[in-house]
């Protein structure tokens, strides 16, 4: 075999090819299979290939040694150039272009890229050895840096030092290489203008670049799908034309990238550079980015969390500092996650950086997130409902944390924490990267705590009014505050329905006057209703046992037809101007309304009682009326509630007995309630508020007494009275039990309130950040 003289470029190229074929890393023998593939990729007729093999001596040796391999490659170049295949031609033919290998082998090469890359690394960096022409010198396959051709417009051949690193295995890059490679066979070979290549290149012309590109294919790590896509559009002609336009593109072609990327990146660079705006993303690039996005996040409208993005872009082997800067530029809304647009921008910046472009200080216009509707915060793809994202509250990656407002609404109790987390947590709020949206974010940051306490209160207020109107005793206002329950428990001892009605009415009023500065009240508690229901059951039981007409809690109004409906909120007010004060006071103090309700339920029976018993209760009522009056005037919510109750009782009584007795604005109390009231009165005395209540009941009684007459109570049979007394006593015990239960609940609610307030205090500072 005659001596083979190779130019430096050829040397490098052949070495690369040899290492590619040297799958066994023997560095001496090229795998036959690989070599054959290579030759097939050279698009030479089979007989020519056979001839080459024979000429290089492989057939003699039975294997491809390095020298044989080199000779073979040279012969391939000769054959491709159209020269006759002769042993002498390998040295005689001057300016022989590098052998070209078609893309078909690229897939195989890419598959073997890993092994190849290891080989390539071993082969060392030629760049330092040879002053390679642009791109050519990039045969260096160091694992660390796969130089991509720098956009050198000048014939700078000191390429190897290119700081741009093409990722070895990063998916984005591999497609690049793939892309480039595919492009090469399609049309790059002849079309790449080498703007300022070194002297080495001039003779080789584009063919070299094509072949070198072919070499670069070896690196391909690109996953099959991207490869295909790359190949598909790599065939598009425009790339080559674009290349011609850009002087820097030359280097791409000349670059021999052994490991992933580089080629594709170059292509992208070329394409991008072909436009006036170097930062513009071409359609192919965008498609590629979208595909890559899908691999991480199937939902195109979702987000890529910071950690996943970090892993992804770290594969590009860019320095962390630059990646950090790229992130800063691309994460437009500073939420720690990337939308599709942001991801494309970041990807594009990575590609550009790898191709040698310096990172801009500001995000270029073309890379700005475009999908965002600046006027509409609900962007197409960017509005997730996710809150977590933040980790903090949100952080849920694909779904960013829900917007602050939604979070606040769903969590009425203490939402200030969400604002705080929005600041420190990357995901808390997903907002479109629109300026307006960011402003909103800022506004939210500054805090909208105040909305929280009021909203639930307002909601509750409406509920209360509705409930009161419904006159369902079961419905406690669930108290805007704990005090409600407390007062209601106190009112428990006062007259039943009437007061209950008033209470409900007052409750609604109290709901309307929430304490805005206090933490939002807890959501309606089911327990009170349960307790109420229990009381209701008991009421029903009472009704059964007492044989009273069990109008039921709901039927309370109908149970006392003759009486004005105490359940109607305006009723008590209308009937009792005196009580109006109490009502007003009640409204100011809502807390007692909850406990009122059980009484309310129970009181329905008393109405019936009232209808039946009149005589005895007269006195009691009379006594209690005056008590009621002062109660009304009392500022104590409990007492006021009680007054309301007594008032309602009075109303019912008057309605039942003497409708005309509404004089004084106080309706006569039903006789049955009287003994109950007294009993309740005594219970009240046990409590701190009792005193007032007793006074009120006394007032009420006095009022009742002052009333002209209650004819009904006069003519009652003593036995009936005694029976009613018995029933009332039973009711009393039941109500007392209920009262204790409610007291317990009240304490619990108070404790909760305290804990919530503490939480609020803890979280409040964050709202200022």
């Amino acid at each position: 075999m005659e001596g083979l003289t190779l130019s430096d470029a050829e040397q490098k190229y052949y070495s690369d090819l040899f290492s590619y074929c040297d799958i066994e890393s023997t560095k001496k023998v090229a795998a036959n299979g690989r070599v054959l593939e290579l030759f097939r990729a050279a698009q030479l007729p089979n007989d020519v290939v056979l001839q080459i093999m024979e000429l290089c001596g492989a057939t003699r040796l039975g294997y491809f040694g390095r020298s044989q391999f080199y000779i073979a490659l040279k012969l391939v170049a000769v054959a491709q150039s159209g020269f006759p295949l002769r042993v002498e031609s390998i040295n005689t033919v001057k300016d022989l272009p590098l052998p070209r290998f078609v893309a078909s082998k690229n897939e195989q090469e890419s598959r073997h890229a890993a092994s190849y890359s290891s080989d390539s690394e071993n082969q060392g960096s030629y760049s330092g050895v040879i002053p390679p022409p642009p791109g050519r010198g990039q045969v260096k396959k160091g694992s660390v840096s796969h130089d991509t051709v720098q956009p050198r417009t000048s014939a700078d051949q000191q390429e190897p030092a290119s700081p741009v690193v093409s990722p070895q295995q990063s998916p984005p890059t591999s497609p690049h290489t793939w892309r480039k490679h595919s492009r090469h066979p399609s049309g790059g070979n002849s079309e790449r203008p080498l703007a300022g290549p070194g002297p080495f290149w001039s003779p080789f012309g584009e063919a070299q670049s094509g072949s070198s590109a072919g070499d670069a294919v070896w690196s391909g790590h690109s996953p099959p799908p991207p490869q295909e896509t790359w190949v598909s559009f790599a065939d598009t002609p425009p790339t080559s034309t674009l290349l011609t336009m850009h002087p820097a593109s030359v280097q791409d072609q000349t670059t021999v990238r052994t490991v992933a990327s580089a080629t594709a990146a170059n292509e992208i660079r070329r394409q991008s550079s072909s436009y006036d705006d170097p930062w513009k993303i071409t359609d192919e690039q965008r498609q590629y980015y979208v595909n890559q996005f899908k691999t991480i996040q199937p939902d195109l409208n979702g987000f890529i969390p910071g950690s996943a993005a970090k892993e992804f872009f770290t594969k590009s082997k860019l320095p962390i500092l630059e990646l950090s800067h790229i992130w800063e530029l691309s994460d437009f809304d500073k939420d720690g996650a990337l939308t599709l647009d942001e991801f494309c921008a970041a990807f594009h910046l990575v590609v550009a950086r790898k191709n040698g472009y310096d990172l801009p200080e500001k995000l270029p216009e073309s890379l700005m997130p475009k999908l965002i509707d600046l006027e509409d915060s609900a962007d197409v793809g960017d509005q997730p409902g996710e809150v977590g994202y933040s980790g903090s509250p949100a952080e849920a990656p694909p779904s960013k944390s829900p917007s602050m407002p939604s979070l606040n609404q769903t969590w009425p109790e203490l939402n200030q924490s969400s604002e705080d987390t929005a600041i420190v947590h990357p995901v808390p709020i997903r907002m479109t990267p629109s300026k307006i949206h960011m402003q909103e974010m800022e506004l939210k940051r500054t805090g909208s705590d105040h909305t929280n306490p009021t909203s639930p209160l307002l909601v509750k207020t409406s509920d209360l009014s509705e409930e009161s109107k419904i006159n369902s005793s079961v419905k406690f206002a669930s108290g805007n505050t704990v005090a409600d329950g407390y007062s209601s428990s106190d009112s428990f001892t006062s007259d039943p329905e009437q007061i209950g009605n008033n209470v409900t009415h007052q409750r609604s009023h109290s709901g309307t006057s929430p304490d805005n500065t206090a933490p939002p009240p807890p959501p309606p508690r089911p327990q009170p209703s349960h307790s109420r229901s229990s009381s209701l059951d008991m009421n029903r039981t009472f009704a059964v046992t007492t044989g009273q007409q069990q109008a039921g809690v709901v039927a309370h109004p109908p149970a006392v037809p003759p009486r004005p409906q105490p359940s109607q909120a305006p009723g008590p007010v209308v009937h009792r101007p005196v009580d109006a004060d109490g009502l007003i006071t009640h409204t100011s103090t809502s807390p007692q309304q909850i406990p009122e309700q059980p009484n309310f339920a129970d009181f329905s029976q008393f109405e019936v009682f009232a209808a039946s018993n009149v005589n005895e209760e007269q006195d009691d009522e009379a006594e209690k009326h005056p008590e009621v009056l002062p109660v009304e005037k009392a500022s104590d919510p409990a007492s006021s509630l009680r007054v309301a109750k007594t008032d309602s009782k009075i109303e019912e009584k008057t309605a039942a007995s003497v409708p005309a007795n509404v004089s004084k604005g106080t309706t006569p109390l039903a006789p049955p309630p009287k003994p109950v009231r007294r009993r309740l009165k005594s219970e009240d005395e046990l409590r701190p508020e009792v005193d007032e209540h007793t006074q009120k009941t006394g007032v009420l009684a006095a009022v009742l007494a002052s009333q002209p007459s209650i004819p009904r109570s006069v003519g009652k049979d003593k036995k009936a009275i005694q029976a009613s007394i018995r029933r009332n006593k039973e009711n009393n015990t039941v109500l007392a039990r209920l009262n204790s239960e409610l007291q317990q609940q009240l304490k619990d609610v108070l404790e909760e309130r305290i804990s919530l307030e503490v939480q609020l205090e803890q979280l409040r500072p964050f709202s200022h950040l």
Binding site: P305, G306, S307, A309, K310, F313, I320, L321, L323, S324, H325, W327, E328, D331, K334, D335, G336, E361, I423, V424, P426, E761, Q762, R764, P765, F766, S767, H768, L769
Partner: protein
């Protein structure tokens, strides 16, 4: 009019420190270092678990002292600590205009916001020095606006 801005980590090593008159950088480093003691003292004095935003801002750390090189300058040191015990120390030159407390607070707020943006960057490891260009530009704007 901030002449020096420093971000100190929880373990009291600087994450970011930058001063305007570069010739006296060491002096500013020293000033910030001595301020850390005052900051720690104020933090420990708080005591209670609830950290209010008002407490994040520590205010004037040390009485004004004259600038040795330029006697006319009055340097005031202000401190601000976050809930994660990251401290911001700012040295302002109050000779030109007396900066109101609100302005100092707003400057710290901006610093804090920029710091959280840096934190949001997944490529930033907490504890590393801050190289974020956005952060740099923000600090520059704060320092230049007054000078």
């Amino acid at each position: 009019m901030a002449v020096c801005v420093a971000v100190i980590a929880k373990e009291n090593y600087p994450l970011y420190i930058r001063s305007i008159p570069t010739e006296n950088e060491l002096k500013f480093h020293y000033m910030v270092h001595t301020s850390l003691d005052v900051v720690d003292e104020k933090i420990s004095a708080m005591g209670k678990a609830l950290v209010d935003q008002r407490e994040l801002y520590l205010g004037l750390l040390y009485p004004t002292e004259d600038y040795k090189v330029y006697p006319s300058h009055q340097l005031c040191r202000y401190g601000y600590v976050t809930n994660s015990k990251v401290k911001f120390v700012m040295v302002v030159d109050s000779s030109n205009t007396a900066l109101r407390d609100n302005e100092i607070r707003s400057m710290f707020r901006k610093l804090h916001n920029s710091y959280t943006d840096v934190m949001c960057n997944p490529f930033y490891n907490p504890g590393d020095r801050i190289h974020s260009r956005a952060f740099d530009s923000m600090v520059t704007s704060m320092m230049i606006q007054v000078c």
